[in-house]
Each structure stands twice: as C-alpha cells, then as structure tokens.
Symmetry: C2
Subunit: 363 residues, 2 copies
C-alpha cells in the first residue's frame, strides 16, 4: 500500500492488527483512539510500501513497550509518542525520514500512525514481526544484523533515555528494567534502518494485511456471515478450538503480563499460556499449537480479537491457529522465539499440527 491513511480506516486497522497481535500488542479500541486523534489534528499520513522505500531512507521503529495490562491504563500523549524519536534524531544527528511498526498489535500498529502524523513523515507498510512478540530483540531485523541502537525511551512524566548496547538482547534487558521502574510502560524508538535494510528485514504489506483482516471481520458481522471463518481464511489458518473461558490466572511480573487461561470446550479443555502474547495452546494430552505460529483468540460470534489482558471468565471464544512469517521457522529464529526460549520444553507445533523439531543453538 502506497497512499494515505485517514482516521476512518483506523478501527479496521487496529482490529486486524489485534488479530495478528495474538493477544498482545495492546487493546485495539484504545490504540485506535490515539491514532484517530493524531490524524484529526495533523491530517492524513502517507504510507509507502517496502518496494518503493528510497534506499537512503532513515527508518525508525516506534512502539510502546511494557505490560499490556498497564498500557491500556496509561495511553501516551502525542508529545510522549514523539519524544523518543526526537531524542534519537539528536543522537543520530540527522532527521528521521520514515516510521515503521515493530509488531502487529492493537496499540503497536496504531501508535506509529500517530507518530508519523505528529512528525509529518510517511509510514512504512511493513512491520518487524508480522505478529507480536513480548521482547524487544524478537524482530526479524535482529536476524539480519540490524541493531536496536541507538535506542530511545521515554515515560509520561518526561524522563528520557538513550541506549547504545552490544546486542539487541541487552537493549531488552536494560530497557525492560527501566520500563518497570518508570511504571511498566514506556514509549520507545530504535532499530534505525536504511531503506534497503528495511526492505530486507521487515514483513512487507503488513498494514494492508491488518486492514484486510479488520475489514473482513466487520464485513462478515454486517453480512451475518462467520467473522471467525473470514479471518481464518485471510490468515491461511484454521480454527483449532471453541469454548468458554472458565479460568484466567494472571500477573504483571518483571514487566510482562503473564498467565494462563483455561477454555472449556464440549469434550476437552485448552490451556492458553501467555507472556503478553499467547505462546502455547494445549489440552491435557496434546499440544495444539505453539509460538512462533499465531494463536489467536476471537469472540465466538463477532470475531473481535480478545487481547490477553481482556480475557474474562464466561467469554465464549474460538481459537484460530495461523502460520507466522516463514523466516520465524529458521533455526536461529526458533531459538529466539520458539517455545523453549519461554521455558516450555517442547518442539514448535505448527498451526496445522505438524511438529517442528529444532536444535538448540547459542545466540
């Protein structure tokens, strides 16, 4: 998509992004508000596809980092969204030409829209994951040697920091403890990339994809069709379970929203294990699907995505499993975002049930 983004598409964008967000990336309604406000104040944002991005661009990833349980409580102001970008521009000594999304998510696909509007720069139609993951280093650019540094962060109080680290994992470690101390959610900007680097490392057309999914769900609602089936078709995925939320155990620990939800179906119960995002879906005797493939919880009738922090007892939901970007299935990638990294001693299980063994390697 190369064109302009206006306030009227934001609800679809945020809904579609929350589907790809696999429970994380923040609430789509709240994320939508900020982008709509920015677009109504600053006018439409131009979007540019990865293919048309000039090679000498300076692309910066902009996002909110923290526990989604907290992010929904303290949505940033536009000033706060822009502050880390400005700190980085000072540090880099040259202006940013484009903004990109780190991940797909209700808040993290709409905050970059707000940032692009406020900064007056185009938004790249692409993102760093094609889904959402909980930690900073978990982006495809890491696999291409793109560093987070220099990396800036700020809070709603006006505190700003800039980091230059020896690895993307160190940026995660330092920024995460700072985020916890600063109130469990901060605004970040980093991963400076040239146009060529962005073209190689980002997931192409992901805003367009989010919009398509968001629209398809809305259209199916209007047509009294099945929004879950419509979403699954666009995702190339399949419905793997349906049932009622009977238990949610949740804590905000070490800066993440971690927990387990139990979904009771007609003949079995699924446990969903999450750290901001859903990581593993399993029954008592079978792992249905794991990270890095997508585990998506949708409201059974409306097909609206339900983020992990919004899971409640009694909700009737359907679980869709869908393939992630194929680059997440390389050995290095699986060591970065596969189930074992998160402490689940199991191979990756693909959206279609295939078991994907992978050797452990030191990153």
């Amino acid at each position: 998509m190369t064109g302009a983004m206006t306030a009227d598409v934001i609800a679809d964008l945020a809904r579609g992004a929350a589907v790809l967000g696999t429970g994380g990336g923040g609430d789509p309604y709240i994320g939508g508000l900020l982008a709509q406000q920015a677009l109504s104040t600053h006018g439409p944002v131009s979007t540019v596809s990865l293919g048309e991005l000039p090679s000498d661009s300076l692309v910066l990833v902009v996002a909110m980092m923290g526990a989604p349980t907290v992010m929904v409580e303290k949505l940033p102001s536009l000033d706060e969204v822009v502050r880390p970008v400005e700190a980085l521009a000072t540090f880099l000594g040259r202006p940013i030409t484009h903004v990109a999304c780190a991940e797909a998510g209700g808040v993290n696909s709409t905050i970059p829209v707000a940032a692009a509007a406020a900064l007056g720069v185009p938004l790249v139609d692409g993102d760093g994951m094609g889904r959402a993951f909980p930690e900073l280093q978990m982006v495809l650019p890491t696999l291409y040697g793109v560093t987070t540094s220099p990396f800036a962060f700020s809070d709603e109080k006006g505190n700003v920091g800039v980091l230059r680290t020896i690895s993307n994992h160190w940026t995660e470690r330092i920024a995460r403890v700072a985020a916890v101390e600063m109130g469990c959610s901060i605004m970040i900007a980093g991963f400076p990339m040239s146009g060529d680097q962005a073209r190689e490392a980002l997931v192409p057309d992901s805003l367009t994809h989010c919009l398509s999914i968001g629209r398809a769900i809305r259209q199916a609602q209007q047509d009294k069709a099945d929004p879950v089936a419509a979403a699954a078709a666009l995702l190339g995925g399949r419905e793997v379970f349906a049932g009622k939320v009977v238990d949610v155990e949740r804590g905000t620990t070490a800066g993440f929203a971690r927990g387990t939800a139990r979904i009771e179906g007609t003949s079995s119960t699924v446990s969903l294990h999450f750290q901001n995002e859903h990581l593993v879906a399993r029954t008592a005797d079978q792992v249905l699907v794991t990270t890095p493939d997508l585990i998506i919880v949708l409201e059974q009738d409306s097909g609206e995505p339900i983020t992990t922090e919004a899971l409640r007892y009694g909700q009737r939901v359907r679980i869709v499993a869908a393939p992630s970007d194929p680059r997440w299935h390389g050995i290095e990638a699986l060591n970065m975002v596969g189930p074992r990294y998160f402490g689940y001693d199991m191979p990756s299980v693909r959206f279609d049930g295939r078991v994907e063994e992978y050797p452990e390697v030191a990153l």
Copy 2:
C-alpha cells in the same frame, strides 16, 4: 590545591577519602591501583581549586555507581571510565573542561583522577558531598538546583546509556535498576556544571583534605603515635566507641550493600547499620550518631579505614564521629539524607551527641 597530582600521593588520597567515605565509596587499595595506572600511562593530572575555576568551565562529575561489594570485584578499565564522559560530550555537543568527584571514597575519589588523566583535563579540588552517600541525588548540587541530566552510564561489556530526567531522584531510580541489570556496578558521568555552579555547590578543597587525612594516618603509623586520634583531630570529630566486630549481617539487595555490624566493647555493644555507607550507630539504649554526620570505622592500631564490605568478624576497630558539611543540616538536606529517609524513625544525632530534630517536608 592548585597544582599537579602524581602517582606517589594516590595511596594517601585514597586512604583519606576512604575515611570520609564512612564505609562506602569503595576500597582505597583497589581504587588507588586504577589511578596509579592512569597517572603512569598519561602523566600527572593538574588540579584546580574551586576558587580558581573559570566561570565558563564545563565540569562533569565522574563516579562508579553500585554495590561496593561488587565494585571491588570488577574494577573498571580506563576505557570504561572514559566511555560515559565521551557519550555525554556527544550529547552536549561540546567538550568537557574539568572532572570532579561526586563523593569522597576510596574508589570514587580515585576514579576521577584516572578519568582526568585519560581525558587530559584538570581535576577539580572539590566533591559533591564531603563524604559518601549511597544514592545519586544525595549531593549538594541537588540542593542548588543542579540536575544530573544529561547523565551517562556504561558497563564493562560496552553497553552505554544517556538519561535526561525530570529530577535527580528519577535519575537515581532509572540508573539504579539499570546498574543492577548490568551487573551491580556501572561507570557514570553527569551533573554538568559551569565553573560558577561548581564553586557554589561543591565542597571546596576536599582532595586536599583527603590527602591531609591520609598523610596524617600514615605519619602517625610511622611515628608510633595514635593514627585514630590524628584522623579525629583533622576531622574535628571524636572517638565514640572501640571494640571487636562480633557479627556482620550483609546482603546485596536492590543494588546496594546493606547490613548491620555489631561491635562489642568493654561494657556495651554498638550496632552499625549501613547502606553502602554507615547510617546509624547505636547501643541498646542510645543512638550515638546518625547520618548526615560521619560514622567512620578505623582499625584500632593502624587507623586504616575499613569499608563496609571489608568488615569481618574479629576485627578490632574504633568508631570516630565527625561533623559533615554544614549544608547537610538544613531542613531540605536532612529530608534527603537524614535517618528517616533511610527508614530509621529518629532525629539526626550529631557527632557530638546533640539531637537535631527536623520537620518532614516533601522534596
């Protein structure tokens, strides 16, 4: 003192600084090594008194931040000492003209010597406290409205950060959690000051004072005189207790070395409570002395200062109490560094036993 500092005075400097360090600020022997190495590599460092500091100077405070228990285990390299200063100079866009000490302490009075040598700039004969305190905001410049920001930190691995915060206490909070994550000790640079600001806010002639104390102890050792009495006389203080260390309870928590030591005397036992520095000395029924006045533990015969991390069962020690810079006894200052800030519900008790009540005010 306006002149030149050479390697042969470092042992006296570090010893005297460790006396004023009241148990914190790092081990004088280890701190001395780094300064001696820097001086032998880069030549003598010029020193300049606060009175002769040019008004348009850019003075930067350089220090090691963390738990002294860890600092003694991982003394920084010269590269590491210089790295945060260089990061700040980039951020400020102009070169540093002078280095100053944040506090008096075995490591934190000698690291600035090493920094000045490596950077080729003069060292200010002054420091931010006239003693040592455990937290960043606890410097006289805070009372004069000097901010920590921009503030830089780095670790031995090569990670660097720059902070611009809304208060010196916020710098402490964010830098402290970063320090813990980065291995419990980091190198820092901050509190950029003009010459006029430094003249107003720093404790004058403190390197000279450290040297005098360090020399007096050594001289008394050579003369078979009483080094403890010699130190007490120079400090304007008095010996308040003598005894044997019978118990040390210690933990490295939240980035600090915290604990309690019990010193058994002939007729009573003193408890020393510390957080990097000694904060309260009390018997079962009397508080002898508290922060902000100085509580100094010296080996009974040699008068060598014993830092909190070096306290061991069986050591025979004498405790000297001495007055701190009078500015630490203002109401705002007592709220920042008095016993209540550290969780001891008591008034300040001066070195001479006078009780100093102070109202609590919001900072």
